[in-house]
């Protein structure tokens, strides 16, 4: 395992798009973590108004301008990144944590367990994801945590399916039969033999999905079902600025929009890079 992670990293470092993406994401993450130190407008970033600077245009003082309550957009973006990034990551982590074990159990045990679990995932997949997330978030109440739970609830079936498909192929390997012959319990086989050997495609898919999850989370926040005022995430910022866009205050929605776009794209490049680097058969095409 150690060796494989090492060689994957080695190949990943040779993928320029992935390295640049990782660098970009790292700086966004650092900006989010150290926002209070990095910006002189930390209080505004957390939501305090400063009406003297209402709708300040981009300039030296406020490179991305200020919003209707006079809050510096750079600070808002940095503090917003905390929520947007963490929502994206938490959604994927939660979806993997729920979907993967169910998929492994379904694929390994087969039979009626498989049938039951897969029909449940089918039901979840039958709903349009955003609509289901809206329904769940609305039912649970609008908040950051509920938005994460709502999106994860629409997302885990994909990981259940992926994990099941991978399990079906790993299950036939000789070392699974050898472990059964030794008398290893089923749950130990699933945990120690199947799980480590299906993790790579799941991690790859997870990396690819974080960007999309950020987009969906921004969508929920945009319609008011995610992060609540006075805090902001990028979706809330787009939503707040959209009314002024056509009246010339273009900077309000444009910069959070760009932030979402670039972050989602960076996760896609990174995920693609990991996928290629983790698969020895794809490496040669580099």
């Amino acid at each position: 395992m150690r060796v494989e992670v090492g060689s994957t990293l080695w190949f990943l470092l040779r993928d320029r798009a992935a390295v640049i993406s990782a660098g970009f994401l790292l700086s966004v993450a650092l900006a989010a973590v150290f926002a209070p130190i990095l910006t002189p407008y930390a209080a505004q970033g957390m939501g305090d108004p400063d009406l003297s600077r209402k709708f300040a245009a981009p300039g030296i003082e406020h490179p991305f301008g200020a919003d209707g309550l006079g809050r510096d957009q750079v600070a808002r973006l940095m503090f917003g990144a905390r929520r947007s990034l963490s929502m994206g990551v938490l959604v994927v982590v939660a979806a993997i944590a729920v979907g993967t074990p169910l998929g492994v159990v379904a694929g390994y045990l087969g039979g009626w367990v498989d049938e039951l679990l897969m029909r449940v995932t089918d039901v979840f997949l039958a709903f349009p994801p955003l609509l289901l997330a809206i329904a769940i978030a609305a039912a649970l109440g609008a908040s950051y945590v509920n938005a994460v739970a709502a999106i994860a609830a629409t997302w885990w079936p994909w990981y259940a399916r992926l994990a099941r498909a991978q399990t079906l192929s790993v299950r036939e390997r000789a070392y699974i039969e050898a472990a059964r012959g030794i008398g290893v319990r089923h749950r130990v086989i699933m945990r120690r033999h199947i799980l480590p050997n299906i993790l790579t495609p799941i991690v790859v898919q997870g990396t690819l999905d974080v960007g999309t999850a950020i987009l969906v989370a921004a969508g929920l926040s945009f319609i008011g079902l995610g992060t609540q005022a006075p805090y902001a995430d990028w979706g809330v910022m787009i939503s707040d600025g959209r009314l002024y866009f056509l009246s010339g205050r273009w900077w309000l929605s444009t910069f959070p929009g760009l932030a979402i776009f670039l972050t989602a794209m960076a996760f896609n490049f990174l995920g693609d890079g990991v996928r290629v680097a983790a698969d020895p058969r794809l490496r040669r095409t580099l």
Binding site: V3, A174, Y175, A178, G183, N197
Partner: protein, 325 residues
């Protein structure tokens, strides 16, 4: 006669081969077709047969990794087919399996310690220190050292990997080890080392082996008795000296004549069998071997020969010997 450690009677295993999208229904593949054998405690029974004759199915059925369709398997006088899953799991600590290719039968993500400790974790609980000492002892016993604790399978040679697989099998101090082509994936020089190791382990630990192979010359040295398998059945079974000196079944004779001899002076007439092994999905009527048998008679096409004791410990299923018995 001592009661055998393992006794297999009339074992049948049929697989249902699923029909394709436009096929007309499934087909039954008879991998085992009323097979009987027994292994006494402390001895080695070599089971020899061509690929596709059901050897590996036999190994898996005895361990109940596959559920046989019919027949009985008694291990130390316990009916294995009557055990529930948990009791069968516990029983597996007394019977272990070593597979052909160690690189596919060892999880590539586990290191030497995890691999050898796995059976201990499955059946016993002990402090980690004690487990480590035991694993090192096991590695030493199969000719490896403590430095292999941290090695992963891809860092091992074929012989080393198969030794790890053997250490795993020995960990629980089993009574029976089923060896399914344990040397076929190895170089000839390494094959001999593994065979010698198996012989030594058997002597030291009083193990019982069920040694399955396609290669007569491999089992010749290690087996007390040899059973020859053809299309899911044992066709001849006798002591390992006797099978070379006095083969009776035409299939055994052909098999022996195809085994290369290390002695260039030994001239033997080779018996070339026509055709290939018939499909187990559609075995020939009567004696399954009649389509290729050089001594085929009229009755062979119609009647299935019964297993007959033609001498002390020598059983043959062939119409040629029905009259003489």
């Amino acid at each position: 006669m001592v009661e055998p450690l393992i006794k297999v009677q009339d074992l049948s295993m049929q697989f249902l081969r699923k029909a394709g999208l436009f096929g007309r229904g499934g087909q039954r593949v008879r991998a085992l077709n009323g097979l009987s054998l027994h292994v006494r405690a402390g001895e080695t029974l070599g089971v020899v047969g061509e690929s596709g004759c059901g050897k590996s199915t036999l190994a898996r059925c005895v361990l109940r990794l596959l559920q046989p369709t019919a027949g009985s398997i008694r291990f130390d006088d316990v009916d294995l087919l009557a055990l529930n899953d948990e009791d069968m799991r516990r029983m597996r600590r007394r019977m272990q399996l070593v597979l052909q290719n160690p690189f596919s039968s060892l999880n590539p993500r586990m290191n030497g310690f995890e691999l050898v400790a796995e059976p201990l974790r499955a059946h016993r609980s002990m402090p980690r220190k004690e487990m480590r000492d035991l694993v090192v002892d096991l590695l030493t016993e199969v000719g490896l050292s403590a430095e292999f604790l941290s090695r992963h399978p891809h860092q091992l040679s074929g012989g080393q990997a198969q030794r790890i697989a053997l250490a795993r099998a020995l960990a629980l101090n089993p009574d029976l080890i089923i060896l399914d082509e344990p040397t076929s994936a190895l170089d000839v020089s390494v094959q001999a080392q593994i065979i010698n190791l198996l012989v030594r382990l058997q002597r030291q630990r009083g193990l019982t082996y069920l040694f399955i192979t396609h290669d007569l010359s491999v089992v010749q040295h290690i087996s007390d008795r040899i059973a020859v398998m053809y299309l899911g059945k044992i066709v001849e079974e006798t002591s390992s000296e006797d099978i070379f000196a006095n083969p009776r079944h035409p299939y055994t004779q052909a098999l022996l004549s195809s085994t290369p001899s290390p002695d260039p002076a030994a001239k033997r007439q080779r018996i070339i069998l026509p055709g290939t092994v018939p499909s187990a999905a559609n075995p020939p009527p009567g004696c399954a071997f009649h389509t290729r048998c050089p001594q085929v008679m009229e009755m062979c096409r119609a009647r299935i020969p019964h297993s007959r004791l033609i001498a002390e410990g020598h059983r043959v299923s062939c119409h040629l010997y029905e009259a003489s018995a």
